[in-house]
C-alpha cells in the first residue's frame, strides 16, 4: 500500500514523520492519473504540480493539507490552467483568476494535480455527458456502470485512490449522488458557507461548492480551511468558521434522527433497505432517537419538476455569456446575431440546448407564472415542510440513492416514485440551503452505495459528528478501489 492511499489526516502524519515527501506523492498521483482508464481527466496539471511540490518548503506541522495532492472539478476557475466545464463551448479557455476555494487551498499549500471531468457545465447526473464522453465508475472495470454526476471526475479519482480528496459542486445532488455510487464521503455544506466565487454558475440559489473525501474527519477538517466570508461572493455567510474537527467524536446520545417514510417506501432494492435498517439500529444503539416522519407524497413528486424548471431557467441566463463573441469558439456570421446563433448552436450539445429551451420557455412572459414562478413558490413550500421536520429533529437520514451505480444504458421510468422521489429527493438540501453529507454504507454485487444525512443550516459541526458516529461503526473508513482489493 502506498502512502497516497491514506486519508488526508493519515497522510499528513506520514508527511510530518518524513516518511514521504510532497514531490513523491505528486509524482505518484500523476503516474496513477496517466494510467487511469476511467476518463476522468480534463487537464493534467503535471508541470504545475511538480513545480509546487518542488518549491513547497518546510513541513507545516499544524497544516493538515500541506503537500496533499487533490483534484478540481473543471467548473472551478483556475488561474492560467485551462477550465472548460467539460464543454466544447469553453475549449481552450484559460481563466485569469482562481476560484476562492482553490485559492484558499493553494495558500495552505495543498497541490492540485488535475482538472477533472463533469457532465457538461454541471448539467446532468450520469457523468456521461461531458465533451470527453463517459467517465467510468472504477468499481466496474467493464465500464458499463456510471459514476454518476455531475461531479463524475472528482468522484472517480477519489474512489480510484488517486487523490485523497477532490473538489466538486452540488446543485441537485451532484456531489452526494456520485459519492453514493463511488463509496465516498461527499459533502455539501450550507448555502453560503463556502464561497462560490469562481464556480461556474448553474443555479446560483442552489449551487454549493463541496468535496469528496474518504473519511468524515477529513471532510470536517477541510471545511475549517475552505469555509468563510468572501468579499467576492456577496452571498457568502459572515457566520464564524468553526473548528469542525473539535466536536466530531462527541457522543450522539439523545440526537433525533428523522426518516421520511415516503422516501424509504419508494425504494425497491432490498439490499439497500435492509442495510438502511441495520444502520438505524446502529444509531439506536448509540442512543439516538429515530423518528419516522411523513411528507406529502404529491409534494415529493414535485421535487424533480420544480428543480428542473428552476435550474434550466437560470442556466440559460448563467451561460448567456458563452455566445461566441466574448467566450466560446467563433463561427462567423454577417451580424452579431448570426455569429451568436452559430456559436451557441454548434458549441453546446443537444442536451444542453434542450435545457436552455425549456428554461427559456419557462421564463417567457406568458409562461413565467405557470412555470418559473410556480416552481419558485413550490420550492418555498418544500422548504417549509423540511424545516418543520428539522425543528424537532437534528438530521434527516435516508439512503442517498435507490440503487447502486446504474448502467449507462439504464432505462428508468421517470414517472415512477422510485425515480421521482428516491432518486431526486436530495435536492431538498439545495432548496433549503442545508448541509448534507453522503457516507458509504454498504455494497451490493461489489458496487458501493451510501446513505445521506442532512442537517440544519450552519449546523455542520453536529451533522459531521452524527456522520462520524456511523462511519466509526461501519467498515468503510478510507474506502477506495485499492483499499477494497
Amino acid at each position: 500500500m502506498s502512502y497516497l492511499d491514506l486519508t488526508i489526516l493519515d497522510l499528513h502524519k506520514a508527511l510530518v514523520e518524513k516518511k514521504v515527501t510532497p514531490l513523491e506523492l505528486v509524482k505518484e498521483a500523476i503516474d496513477r492519473l496517466k494510467k487511469d482508464d476511467n476518463n476522468a481527466v480534463e487537464y493534467l496539471m503535471e508541470k504545475e504540480a511538480i513545480e509546487l511540490a518542488t518549491n513547497i518548503g518546510e513541513i507545516e506541522v499544524d497544516n493538515p493539507v500541506w503537500g496533499i495532492p487533490f483534484a478540481i472539478k473543471d467548473n472551478f476557475s483556475t488561474k492560467d490552467v485551462p477550465t472548460c466545464g467539460s464543454s466544447d463551448m469553453l475549449k481552450g479557455y484559460v481563466p485569469v483568476y482562481n476560484a476562492t476555494i482553490v485559492e484558499k487551498l493553494l495558500k495552505k499549500k495543498a497541490i492540485p494535480v488535475a482538472k477533472v471531468t463533469l457532465d457538461e457545465l454541471a448539467m446532468g447526473g450520469t457523468g456521461a455527458t461531458g465533451h470527453l464522453g463517459k467517465t467510468y465508475n472504477p468499481y466496474d472495470p467493464s465500464h458499463k456502470k456510471m459514476m454518476g454526476g455531475s461531479s463524475c471526475g472528482s468522484a472517480s479519482v477519489v474512489a480510484s485512490g488517486i487523490v485523497p480528496f477532490a473538489l466538486g459542486s452540488d446543485t441537485g445532488d451532484s456531489i452526494r449522488k456520485p459519492a453514493s455510487y463511488g463509496g465516498l464521503v461527499g459533502f455539501k455544506p450550507s448555502w453560503g458557507r463556502i464561497s462560490r466565487y469562481g464556480l461556474f454558475p448553474f443555479t446560483p440559489s442552489l449551487d454549493a461548492a463541496g468535496y469528496f473525501t474518504r473519511s468524515v474527519k477529513d471532510a470536517a477538517m477541510l471545511l475549517s480551511i475552505v469555509a468563510g466570508e468572501d468579499k467576492n461572493d456577496f452571498t457568502s455567510s459572515n457566520k464564524p468558521v468553526e473548528n469542525y474537527v473539535d466536536n466530531i467524536d462527541k457522543p450522539i446520545k439523545n440526537i433525533s434522527i428523522a426518516v421520511i417514510k415516503e422516501i424509504v417506501e419508494s425504494i425497491s432494492n432490498e439490499t439497500i433497505i435492509n442495510q438502511f435498517k441495520e444502520t438505524l439500529k446502529i444509531y439506536q444503539n448509540l442512543g439516538a432517537k429515530i423518528n419516522y416522519v411523513s411528507m406529502d407524497k404529491h409534494l415529493l413528486q414535485t421535487l424533480f419538476p420544480t428543480y428542473y424548471i428552476m435550474s434550466c431557467s437560470e442556466a440559460t441566463s448563467n451561460n448567456a455569456n458563452l455566445d461566441g463573441i466574448k467566450f466560446g469558439p467563433y463561427f462567423d456570421g454577417t451580424t452579431y446575431i448570426e455569429a451568436m446563433k452559430n456559436a451557441r448552436t454548434k458549441g453546446f450539445s443537444e442536451r444542453i440546448k434542450r435545457r436552455f429551451i425549456i428554461g427559456s420557455y419557462s421564463l417567457m412572459k406568458e409562461n413565467q407564472n405557470e412555470l418559473f414562478l410556480r416552481a419558485a413558490k413550490n420550492r418555498h413550500k418544500i422548504v417549509d415542510e423540511v424545516n418543520k421536520i428539522l425543528k424537532t429533529n437534528d438530521v434527516i437520514f435516508l439512503p442517498a440513492s435507490p440503487t447502486t451505480a446504474a448502467p449507462f444504458d439504464n432505462k428508468v421510468d421517470q414517472l415512477k416514485d422510485e425515480y421521482l422521489i428516491a432518486d431526486n429527493y436530495m435536492v431538498i438540501a439545495n432548496f433549503a440551503g442545508l448541509p448534507s453529507i453522503t457516507i458509504p454504507c454498504g455494497f451490493e454485487n461489489d458496487l458501493p452505495f451510501g446513505f445521506n444525512l442532512t442537517g440544519r443550516a450552519f449546523e455542520e459541526s453536529k451533522l459531521l459528528n452524527i456522520a462520524k458516529a456511523l462511519e466509526d461503526k461501519l467498515p468503510y473508513y478510507n474506502l477506495s478501489v485499492r483499499s477494497k482489493k
Binding site: 481563466p95 483568476y97 437560470e314 441566463s317 451561460n319 455569456n321 466574448k326 467566450f327
Partner: protein, 473 residues
C-alpha cells in the same frame, strides 16, 4: 383644430462612483480602452456581482431630491437579452422593486410625475468600423440610475427644462457630471400627438440618440410637428424608434417596433435582498450636498441676490461652491457675486479654464473684497490689486506690499489737511457750493482724491469736506 403632444422621458445617468456597480474596478471616463476592468466586467465565468454601497447612497439622494418613496429593501433582477455590448448576456437591474417610486419635479409651474428610479449597470461601448466592431469594457458595469417619468409632459419646453433640472440635481449631488455630450446623461423620449378632442393618446414614437441639451427641444418640436402634419394629411403614425439627426435637425426612422422584446426578468440570486435601515437612508440624505434649488432660495432670501446673478452662480457646481466658500467668510454677498460674474468669469472665459483651475482662492478673493468694502482701498485700487494677484499668483497682502499700496487713508488729520489745501486753492468752488451748486462738492472731493492718488477714504473725505465748507460760510 388644436393638438396635444404627450411626452414621457427615460433618462440614464452614469454615476461617477470610485468603483463600478457590481465590481471593484475603478470607474474611469475617456481612458485607454479596456484598462478599467475586472474579470466580472468581462463576464468571466464564475465571477459574481457585489453591489456598490456608494451607488446605493447616490440613488437614495437622487430619489430624495425627486420626492420619491424609497424602498426599504434592495432587490436586483436580471434583464436577459443577447447583444454584442452586453458581457453577461443579461444586465443586472431593478425590475420589480426599483429603489425609488412615485416622485415628481415641478417645472415651470407644471408637475412632472416620475414613475420610478432604479439602479443598473452600463454596457460595454462599441466602436464601429466599416468591417468590424471593437468593444471597450471600461464602460461595462459603470453604475447607472434610470429615471422614468409618466407620459405627463405636454411641451418640448418643459421636457427640455426637466432634463436640465435632472442634470442640475445629479451634478449638485455629485452623483454624475451629467455631460450629455460624453454620454454621462442619456435621454430617450416617447412622444405622441392627439387631437384635443380625442380621448385616447396617439401612437407612441420613441426618439433616441439625443446627445446634447440643446437638441432635446429641437428634436421634440420637430417630432411633434411631424406627427401633427402626418395626422393632418391623414397618415397613420407608426409605432417606431427614431433617432435625432443633428445635421438636419430632424428625427429619422431607425426601426419599426413590432412586439416588444421579452426580457425574461427574474431575480438575481447572487445578490440576496438587502435591508435598508431607516437610519441608513436618513444618513444618506442628511450627508447629501445642498441642491441647486435649495441654494437658489438661500441666495435669494438670505443673500438678496437677483435672479440673473443666481442663475449664473448656479450654472455649475464648482462655481456655486466657490461662491459659497466666499460667502462663508464675507457678508458682502452682492460684491462677491459681482466679482465672480464679471471679473472672474471674464478671466476664465478669456483663458478657457474652469473655476477649478482658477488660482485665486475664495480666501484670497474675500480678503480683497473685505478690504474694499470696509473702505481700506478704493474700487480702482482693488482692481489693480486683483490684476496683480492674477498675474503673480500672490495674495492680497503681498500684492499690496509689492505695489506699494499702503491703503486708503482714514486718518482724519491727514485728510483734513488735504481738504484745507484744496479749499484754499478753489475759492470759486466754495462760492458755488454755498450758492447751492451740488456739482461743486463733487469737484472738490475729486480734487482731493486726485491729489492723494486715490488713497483717501471717499466717504470720510466727503464728510470732512462738508464740515470744512460749512466753516467757510
Amino acid at each position: 383644430m388644436g393638438y396635444q403632444a404627450t411626452i414621457g422621458l427615460e433618462i440614464h445617468v452614469e454615476m461617477k462612483t470610485k468603483s463600478k456597480m457590481f465590481s471593484s474596478s475603478p470607474v474611469g471616463f475617456m481612458q485607454e480602452p479596456n484598462t478599467f476592468t475586472t474579470p466580472y466586467d468581462l463576464a468571466f465565468p464564475g465571477t459574481m456581482p457585489v453591489p456598490n454601497k456608494q451607488a446605493v447612497i447616490n440613488a437614495i439622494r437622487v430619489c430624495h431630491a425627486l420626492h420619491m418613496t424609497i424602498d426599504n429593501e434592495l432587490h436586483f433582477d436580471r434583464k436577459n437579452y443577447f447583444y454584442s455590448d452586453l458581457p453577461k448576456g443579461y444586465q443586472i437591474t431593478q425590475d420589480k422593486r426599483p429603489i425609488g417610486r412615485d416622485g415628481y419635479l415641478d417645472i415651470n409651474g407644471e408637475r412632472v410625475e416620475i414613475e420610478r428610479l432604479h439602479m443598473e449597470e452600463d454596457t460595454a461601448k462599441q466602436l464601429h468600423f466599416p468591417k468590424f466592431t471593437l468593444l471597450d469594457y471600461n464602460r461595462a458595469g459603470i453604475p447607472l440610475i434610470e429615471i422614468v417619468t409618466r407620459p405627463c409632459i405636454h411641451s418640448a419646453d418643459v421636457a427640455a427644462k426637466y432634463v436640465e433640472t435632472i442634470r442640475e440635481i445629479v451634478s449638485f449631488l455629485e452623483v454624475s457630471d451629467g455631460k450629455m455630450e460624453e454620454g454621462q446623461l442619456r435621454c430617450d423620449v416617447n412622444v405622441s400627438v392627439k387631437k384635443d378632442s380625442d380621448k385616447n393618446l396617439g401612437t407612441k414614437v420613441e426618439v433616441k440618440n439625443i446627445n446634447s441639451f440643446n437638441h432635446i427641444k429641437i428634436a421634440l418640436e420637430y417630432e411633434i410637428q411631424r406627427q401633427i402634419k402626418a395626422i393632418e394629411s391623414n397618415e397613420k403614425i407608426i409605432q417606431e424608434t427614431r433617432r435625432y439627426d443633428e445635421e438636419n435637425k430632424a428625427t429619422k426612422s431607425m426601426r419599426v417596433k413590432t412586439d416588444s422584446v421579452d426580457y425574461k426578468y427574474f431575480p438575481e440570486d447572487n445578490i440576496i435582498p438587502i435591508k435598508l435601515s431607516q437610519k441608513f437612508i436618513d444618513d444618506a440624505i442628511k450627508t447629501s450636498n445642498e441642491l441647486a434649488s435649495e441654494k437658489r432660495v438661500r441666495y435669494k432670501v438670505k443673500f438678496n441676490l437677483n435672479d440673473y446673478d443666481i442663475s449664473i452662480i448656479l450654472s455649475s457646481l464648482p462655481l456655486a461652491n466657490y461662491f459659497d466658500e466666499c460667502a462663508k467668510k464675507s457678508k458682502y454677498y452682492k460684491t462677491i457675486a459681482n466679482w465672480l460674474i464679471v471679473d472672474i468669469m471674464a478671466y476664465l472665459n478669456k483663458n478657457a479654464i474652469s473655476i477649478n483651475e482658477f488660482k485665486i482662492t475664495p480666501e484670497m478673493l474675500v480678503e480683497l473684497i473685505n478690504e474694499k468694502e470696509s473702505g481700506v482701498i478704493s474700487n480702482k485700487i482693488a482692481r489693480e490689486i486683483f490684476a496683480y494677484m492674477l498675474e503673480n499668483n500672490v495674495n492680497c497682502k503681498t500684492a499690496k506690499q509689492r505695489l506699494n499700496i499702503t491703503g486708503q487713508t482714514s486718518d482724519d488729520k491727514a485728510i483734513r489737511d488735504l481738504v484745507i489745501e484744496i479749499l484754499n486753492n478753489n475759492e470759486q468752488s466754495i462760492k458755488d457750493y454755498h450758492a447751492g451748486k451740488d456739482r461743486a462738492l463733487g469737484f472738490l472731493i475729486g480734487q482731493v482724491m486726485k491729489k492723494s492718488g486715490g488713497k483717501v477714504n471717499p466717504s470720510l473725505t466727503s464728510k470732512i469736506m462738508v464740515e470744512e465748507l460749512n466753516r467757510r460760510k
